[in-house]
């Protein structure tokens, strides 16, 4: 396997093409060639449930390989990985060509961990990220999103959002329409604004002088590494 990421990046184990061969059969042949260090796992298009992924991790762990991050093109696997407490990254979902995937993987590895979720979070749904979180879709009332870093909603935020879960008070919550039930940044809690937001104006919530305040969203939007 050619080194796909920069030299500081850990070794990346890439699963075979989706459904070409069951990974349970494929894995043992790969184990001897793996370096004894923390590795990244690229699951490609495989849709892995929590149970599948756990099985895979146990197999790797038994062979002495510690998986520190999972990269995937499938959002189901992304949610499974997040649920297992792994760093989860999404690489490009369109499988147009190898080149674009390569570029995407490179770009995401340069940023702080960014979790991308496509689709609406409905009442009772919950997603969390150990890095930043981008939701392409709405967060409905009763749904919640939380991240150690920032929460970006490319849609309407009407549920709950928690940015800076681990105490990062510079974290912020940005949404195309910010009308949440409740906002949390680091340890602070605020109720959403009562009045309807101005249409066509993205807004952000961040901590200003010890309180959460809402203002028009300001660039830069790129997830910043700290």
């Amino acid at each position: 396997m050619t080194p796909e990421l920069s030299s500081q990046s850990p070794f990346c184990l890439r699963l075979p093409a989706f459904r070409s061969v069951p990974w349970q059969q494929w894995l043992p042949s790969q184990l001897p060639s793996l370096p004894r260090q923390a590795i990244d796992l690229d699951t490609g298009d495989w849709s892995l449930s929590c149970r599948d992924l756990e099985e895979l991790l146990v197999a790797l762990n038994e062979a002495g390989h510690h998986v520190q991050a999972v990269m995937t093109r499938c959002s189901d696997t992304l949610i499974s990985a997040a649920a297992l407490g792994l760093i989860a990254r999404q690489v490009s979902t369109d499988s147009t060509g190898d080149g674009s995937t390569h570029d995407q993987a490179h770009a995401t590895s340069m940023d702080a961990e960014l979790t991308v979720h496509r689709g609406t979070l409905r009442s009772g749904d919950h997603i969390e990220s150990h890095g930043h979180l981008l939701i392409v879709g709405d967060v409905n009332p009763g749904g919640s999103a939380s991240a150690d870093g920032d929460v970006y909603v490319w849609g309407r935020l009407r549920g709950r959002a928690h940015a800076g879960r681990r105490g990062d008070s510079d974290a912020r919550i940005v949404a195309l329409q910010l009308r949440p039930l409740q906002l949390r940044i680091a340890e602070l809690v605020a109720r959403g604004p009562e009045e309807r937001p101005q249409p066509g104006l993205a807004e952000q919530a961040c901590i200003v002088e010890g309180a959460i305040s809402i203002e028009p969203a300001k660039p830069p939007f790129a997830a910043q590494q700290t």
Binding site: R122, S123, G124
Partner: protein
Amino acid sequence: MTNSRTILICSGKGGVGKTTLTANLGIALAGQGARTVVLDADFGLRNLDLLLGLENRIVYTAQEVLAETCRLDQALVKHKQQPNLALLPAGNPRMLEWLKPEDMQTIAGMLSDRFDYVLIDCPAGIEDGFKNAVAAAKEAIVITTPEVSAVRDADRVIGLLNTHGVSPVQLVLNRVRPKMMANQDMLAVDDVTDILALPLLGLVLEDEQVIVSTNKGEPLTLNGTSSPAAKAYGNIAGRLQGEDIPLMDPAKERRGIRARVRQLMQTKIF
């Protein structure tokens, strides 16, 4: 039958009109010539048979069919005025303890061999009863009322339907009061579709006739009344069959005095 449709009618919240919709839609579809069966999946609190006025005709239930102590056609109760419609009654509430999602799939499979439409009346809530019912369904109609609690529960149910791979999911908005909507005392149609983001299959106006018909055990769609709810149920059935019927506009449905008098008269006659 290959093009049989198994449709789950669910809402999350109780009392928003699942059973009423199931009964009326069943009658309306049967009236349009489709062989239809309604399946009561609400084993704990069954009352689909009551609404259809078939309570006293039940001999066997889904329970006996599953236990193979009777044949399916023995358990099916044919509607007395609408022979295209049959009811498969729910068993006794204790059935909940042993019923598995596979059992519901078995029943729905048997029914879909013989009917064009299998309508499943889902219990309220999202616990075992819901999980059993959803296992049998291919598509779903979510019914809700313009209230925040009903919309919230519907949203949760839609999320669960999505994870179970039920598709398409369509929406019926029940108990719409045009006047309250116009005065913004009630959630508007747009507010509801905004959150739920589902195609709207129909709007049903608040209608006192529904209460009357429920108590009589005669679904509104049965006797061709001109009540607004009956019309709405008929339209929903038509749209399900693929007809292109425009949706009602609540703003134009502020009823005039004549309609009110007519309805008042209908209310008294029974």
